[in-house]
């Protein structure tokens, strides 16, 4: 009843090409951003920021990057954790080795180096595709795990093998409290979200989608597969690298390679698939789902155990968590293989017609 585009005429090219074509969408998104920037800081407590909101924002950014590669360009990558690690470690090295390096520049430099590594490990995509490529990208994962563990230069020859940063500040504002960290990550996510959205609507984005849908046909109509695939790897690993930098600098503070292990790669891929491949919105949904689910299970299981009168030990909780997580993933893939973004668009479709059935 309220969600209709009736009467909203497009009278210029500009209005025809806007991201959210319907006025209600625009208002809803603006309201959401305003809520995230103003409302959430007033409502959330420190635990919410630390455990849920900051990980959500950073992983949503990473999932966005992975979605560009996997969802838009159709190149399955299991090496995203490694690209995050490259982003984090190279941002660290830029930050501490160059005197007076601004934080944002360091993070972007981390993204730049992640791009280089991403393009390098993307080269096999020119020859192989699908599951072969997935395994090939694992090479990046294992190589980076090893390199950051064994090569002392990356960790500034720290004996313990872990690195840490402190006293972050941007333009003179220090980033210490969870609230400041939250806003910092939110700003990154908004900027990159907007960039990514515009990128996938542009000529490059269309090339990626053509490659995804059928690469031979795309090559026949004059899209250069090499350029399209490697640019997808570059953009994707840049975003993932920046997210890795944020994860290390802002969320963890001090970290070691295990923070970016192969489980992280799987987690990101889960986000993309559960959220919806080839959908910017889906990355956010998927990240929210994967971040919140374990926390929810962790809280819910002991409570449910008490309810039935069976005390559940922590070990059992963590194993049951694994089981439920796995089962939910499978169930979700069966029920909605196109992800949460598909549910979202179905809901919007229904809402347009509501209250009429047809």
């Amino acid at each position: 009843m309220f969600y209709r585009e009736n009467g909203q005429f497009k009278t210029s090219y500009r209005s025809d090409q806007q991201i959210f074509a319907i006025a209600q969408d625009r208002w809803a998104i603006l309201a959401l951003i305003a809520f995230a920037a103003i409302g959430v800081p007033m409502l959330a407590d420190e635990y919410m920021f630390r455990a849920i909101l900051i990980p959500f924002l950073i992983l949503a950014l990473a999932a966005l990057g992975v979605n560009i590669l996997v969802g838009y360009c159709g190149q399955i990558s299991l090496g995203s954790g490694a690209f995050m690690a490259v982003g984090a470690y190279m941002a660290y090295n830029t930050y501490i080795r160059i005197e007076g390096m601004p934080l944002i520049v360091a993070l972007l430099a981390g993204g730049f180096f992640a791009t280089l590594v991403g393009v390098f490990f993307g080269i096999p995509s020119l020859r192989v595709k699908g599951l072969y490529l997935a395994v090939a990208t694992l090479a990046a994962q294992f190589f980076c795990d090893w390199a950051f563990l064994r090569i002392g230069w990356f960790t500034n020859n720290n004996a313990s093998g872990s690195v840490s940063v402190s006293n972050l500040n941007v333009f003179g504002w220090s980033i210490d409290t969870p609230l400041q960290k939250y806003l910092f990550c939110l700003a990154f996510l908004l900027v990159f979200g907007l960039l990514a959205k515009n990128l996938v609507r542009s000529a490059v984005g269309r090339e990626w989608m053509a490659i995804r849908d059928m690469d031979v046909a795309a090559a026949v109509i004059g899209i250069r597969p090499m350029y399209a695939k490697l640019s997808a790897f570059a953009v994707s690993s840049f975003i993932v690298g920046v997210a890795g930098g944020l994860w290390g600098f802002v969320h963890l503070g001090s970290w070691e390679p295990a923070a970016f292990s192969i489980d992280r790669s799987f987690q990101l891929l889960f986000m993309v698939i559960i959220g919806g491949m080839g959908s910017i919105m889906g990355s956010f949904f998927g990240a929210a789902f994967i971040v919140i689910l374990p926390i929810f299970l962790n809280q819910f299981l002991p409570w449910a155990g008490d309810l039935v009168g069976v005390p559940i030990s922590t070990a059992t909780v963590s194993h049951t968590e694994f089981m439920i997580f796995g089962a939910l993933i499978v169930w979700f893939l069966i029920v909605e293989p196109h992800g949460l973004a598909k549910l979202w668009s179905v809901a919007k479709q229904k809402l347009r017609l509501w209250p009429f059935p047809h």
Binding site: V128, L131, A134, R150, D215, M323, F325, I329
Partner: protein
């Protein structure tokens, strides 16, 4: 020279075990087009079942004979793997027919998490021992040719023999039995196989069961070598480059790929490792497979990939 031979033999034997795990991947991929990431979890699950049953069964039945206990434990674990195969087909694969490869891959990752949790909930999460009576003594070969001879672990020799035996049995099963023929038909062309009356669902159960048995054997061998614990799941990750090298669809490829990777890993660790800080066997196999892919995308023995519009 003796040192080189030692490394080479060690590599070959490790390679045989990789081949065993890789075989599980290849079987399932051929028959159902599913890239089964859960193979590692299946190895752990089967090994846990074997370890615990062989511990429990003598208590339940009052058996004294260790061999009989192990045999019963093996049979029971095998039937557990069968139930597992049946459940996976029934609850997961059947509903995901015709989905994209990556969706199926994710589904097997979900199964991985589930099995990891389930196995440790039922069987416990400590380190367990599997004792199937494999000799642990090292022996020296070729004493007469080299001074000191070549040191070989007898356990590895047995393991490699068992793995080789399993491969032979499997290839006989594939080539000589009617079920094996049906499996090959399904691998060749799902639709054609279905149209001549081969029941796809039953074939999938069988193939997952066979993969479960290879997982069980791999689990027993690895488990008696290094104890049954969570890190067994990483064996599967070590076996991935093997199938890339050998080709996703080729059984002999899995074996030869396994041997190449085993030897490559060992020799690189011994001769190259000291120069770059050691521990390179984790990624060496992957990089080897990656370089290989650039020149031969379908692997050593894989079917040629032909793109059509």
């Amino acid at each position: 020279m003796a040192f080189f031979l030692e490394a080479l033999l060690g590599g070959l034997m490790a390679g045989m075990l990789y081949a065993l795990v890789a075989l599980g991947f290849v079987l399932i991929y051929k028959a159902s087009g599913v890239f089964n990431f859960a193979q590692g979890a299946m190895v752990l699950f089967a090994a846990l079942a074997m370890a615990r049953f062989s511990e429990w069964i003598p208590g339940w039945l009052g058996l004294e004979d260790k061999f009989l206990g192990n045999l019963l434990a093996f049979a029971l674990s095998a039937s557990v793997m069968f139930v597992l195969a049946w459940l996976i087909e029934r609850l997961v694969l059947r509903h995901l027919v015709n989905q994209e490869g990556v969706t199926l891959l994710m589904a097997t990752l979900g199964i991985t998490y589930f099995l990891d949790g389930l196995g440790q909930t039922i069987f416990g999460s400590d380190i367990y021992k599997i004792d199937v009576g494999m000799p642990k003594d090292p022996v020296f070969l070729l004493d007469s040719i080299f001074p000191g001879g070549v040191l070989v672990n007898l356990e590895d020799v047995y393991a490699a023999c068992i793995a080789a035996l399993l491969v032979v049995v499997l290839s006989l099963f594939f080539q000589k039995t009617s079920t094996g023929r049906a499996l090959r038909a399904v691998a060749d062309d799902h639709q054609a196989a279905q149209s001549i009356g081969i029941p796809l669902n039953r074939i999938w159960v069988i193939v997952w069961f066979v993969a479960g048995i290879t997982a069980l054997v791999a689990g027993i061998i690895w488990g008696s070598k290094m104890g049954v614990q969570f890190s067994l799941t990483t064996v599967a990750l070590r076996a991935l480059p093997v199938i890339i090298l050998g080709g996703l669809t080729s059984v002999p490829g899995a074996i030869i790929g396994g041997l190449i990777i085993g030897v490559g890993e060992k020799l690189s660790e011994v001769y190259l490792g000291p120069y770059v800080g050691g521990g390179i066997e984790i990624w060496f196999a992957y990089v080897l497979a990656l370089v290989f892919l650039l020149f031969r995308p379908q692997g050593l023995f894989g079917e040629k990939i032909i793109d059509r519009v």
